[in-house]
């Protein structure tokens, strides 16, 4: 069913009892042209672009839990392309452009809201860095605006302007950035892919790979039996090392956890996405009124989807420095997502040493915003057996070749990116 004002009116007259399911729940077939492991935003979007852009519709998406139960449902929903390096900006900017048309393209409201992302700085050094980053963005055709102190305080009136230790000097604003409804992105891509013939198979965990005598991928073993596959595409953020290990591949990845927090609902008071340049704190306000915010990684390898208390304290301290009037607002919940941290802070969207096996992973903190663009490039890579120019820098061999994509210059320490 096409969602429209007409279908809404019809269903309203029937008391909303006649809405069909948004996507099917098929039994797995014996053989697919492409099997995608991971039913998060990246996996579902990859299936959609394989079908839509490349005409490959005999595709299955295998999800061990329910779709969107991993990091797509656990992030802080920020979408931006305010990056530094010429190798990373085109991919993220292409993703942002796809976001701008996504609700119309999917016929599903992903609630993409271009409320801007504002990075506030407090020292001369941070201002230099912001100018450099803004110029890099403008030279790549991305929107970037430098705001002075007064403009920042007008945009964010709750910011503590009297902080003597960390005065607000200004901010770097990307007006086209913003956020989106994370679940809607999953459901929208699932429905759109399903309408093009893709099978979405939930509660189906991949337990092994099947390869022929030449080592080429021929299928996967799953908790619901063997499924044959011409090609296998992996998009399983958090557990990328575990899945790729089944194919005998060791990766430049460590799994870490990143916490996020939601406060009780309050009246609208933060109408942008703001970052506090002193500690590591970013905050936005959801449509329901909850303040959504987060901070640094917990800092050590972990697969536990729960956060530690020192980071809670750290984030709370930063919040009191940044927006002290929120000190009495109560925390509603907090959680952690398991993220693939890589050796240079950049992802992998590439072929692998195993023929017929493709990888989209290593997204560090940046997976959600990248869903449309990365999946678009990943589908291109799988369909053509070669990368698109946007994802060409993001291959596994870049470390051996001495070409890491390391915007922070953090070096091979995943917990420093």
């Amino acid at each position: 069913m096409q969602y429209s004002i007409t279908s809404l009116a019809k269903q309203a007259l029937r008391g909303h009892q006649g809405w069909p399911e948004a996507f099917r729940h098929p039994e797995p077939q014996k053989q697919y042209d492409v099997v995608i492991i991971g039913g998060g935003g990246h996996g579902l979007a990859t299936a959609y672009y394989l079908a839509k852009n490349h005409g490959i519709t005999n595709v299955a998406v295998l999800e061990k839990g329910w779709i969107g139960s991993g990091n797509t449902g656990r992030n802080t929903t920020i979408v931006r392309s305010n990056y530094l390096l010429n190798s990373e900006i085109p991919l993220l900017e292409w993703s942002l452009k796809l976001w701008e048309g996504l609700s119309a393209e999917l016929n599903y409201n992903v609630m993409f809201s271009q409320r801007g992302v504002l990075d506030i700085f407090h020292t001369d050094g941070q201002r230099d860095e912001a100018v450099r980053r803004g110029n890099a963005m403008i030279m790549n055709g991305v929107d970037a605006v430098m705001l002075n102190r007064q403009q920042v305080l007008e945009m964010m009136p709750l910011v503590d302007e009297n902080n003597g230790r960390f005065p607000v000097l200004g901010g770097l604003l990307q007006p086209r950035a913003g956020n989106a409804r994370h679940d809607a992105v999953v459901w929208g891509y699932a429905r759109a892919a399903d309408r093009l013939g893709v099978d979405i198979i939930q509660n189906c965990e991949v337990t092994g790979f099947e390869r022929d005598a030449d080592g080429r991928m021929t299928g996967v073993e799953t908790s619901r039996g063997r499924i044959g596959a011409g090609k296998v595409a992996v998009a399983v953020a958090g557990h990328t090392s575990q899945v790729m290990q089944m194919a005998g591949i060791r990766l430049p990845v460590e799994s870490h956890k990143l916490q996020a927090f939601v406060s009780e609902a309050v009246k609208p008071c933060v109408d942008t996405v703001a970052t506090f340049g002193v500690g590591h704190l970013y905050i936005s306000q959801s449509d329901k009124g909850g303040l959504v915010f987060g901070g640094m990684l917990d800092g050590y390898n972990s697969f536990a989807q729960r956060g530690n208390l020192p980071i809670v304290e750290d984030v709370a301290e930063a919040m009191m420095m940044f927006l002290p009037s929120l000190g009495r607002v109560r925390l509603l919940r907090h959680w952690a997502g398991v993220v693939d941290m890589t050796m240079d802070g950049s992802p992998y969207i590439c072929k692998t040493p195993v023929e017929g096996l493709y990888l989209n992973g290593g997204w560090n903190y940046t997976g959600f915003k990248a869903i449309p663009g990365a999946a678009w490039c990943f589908a291109h890579t799988v369909a053509n057996d070669a990368p698109h120019k946007f994802n060409a820098p993001f291959h596994l061999d870049r470390f051996a070749e001495g070409r890491p994509v390391d915007a922070t210059g953090g070096g091979p320490f995943p917990n420093h990116h």
Binding site: Q242, R250, P252, V253, S255, G299, F399, A400, F413
Partner: protein
């Protein structure tokens, strides 16, 4: 999470800094490039028991080898990275 420092006893997480996998070993200077790429970049990243380096930075300053489970965060052992007798003089 509390880490049992062999010199200071149980101490809270905030006193420690994390370095990473303690099982990778530095190859000889003349080792082939593949061995160096392996050492610097590739990790097993196990889901379960993990042997890792921590430093008691806000305490005694010791480098520790800690056996910790990456799912439950249970710590089964914490030892000094190098026994005192092996320190080069």
């Amino acid at each position: 999470m509390r880490i049992p420092c062999p010199l200071c006893g149980d101490r809270p997480l905030e006193e420690f800094t994390y370095r990473g996998d303690a099982t990778v070993t530095r190859p000889a200077a003349a080792a082939p490039m593949e061995a160096w790429v392996d050492y610097v970049y590739l990790r097993d990243n196990p889901k379960g028991p993990h042997r890792e380096h921590w430093r008691h930075a806000q305490g005694c300053g010791s480098w520790l080898v800690v056996d910790r489970n990456t799912v439950t965060h249970e710590i089964t052992q914490a030892a000094q990275a190098r026994p005192a007798g092996e320190v080069q003089r």
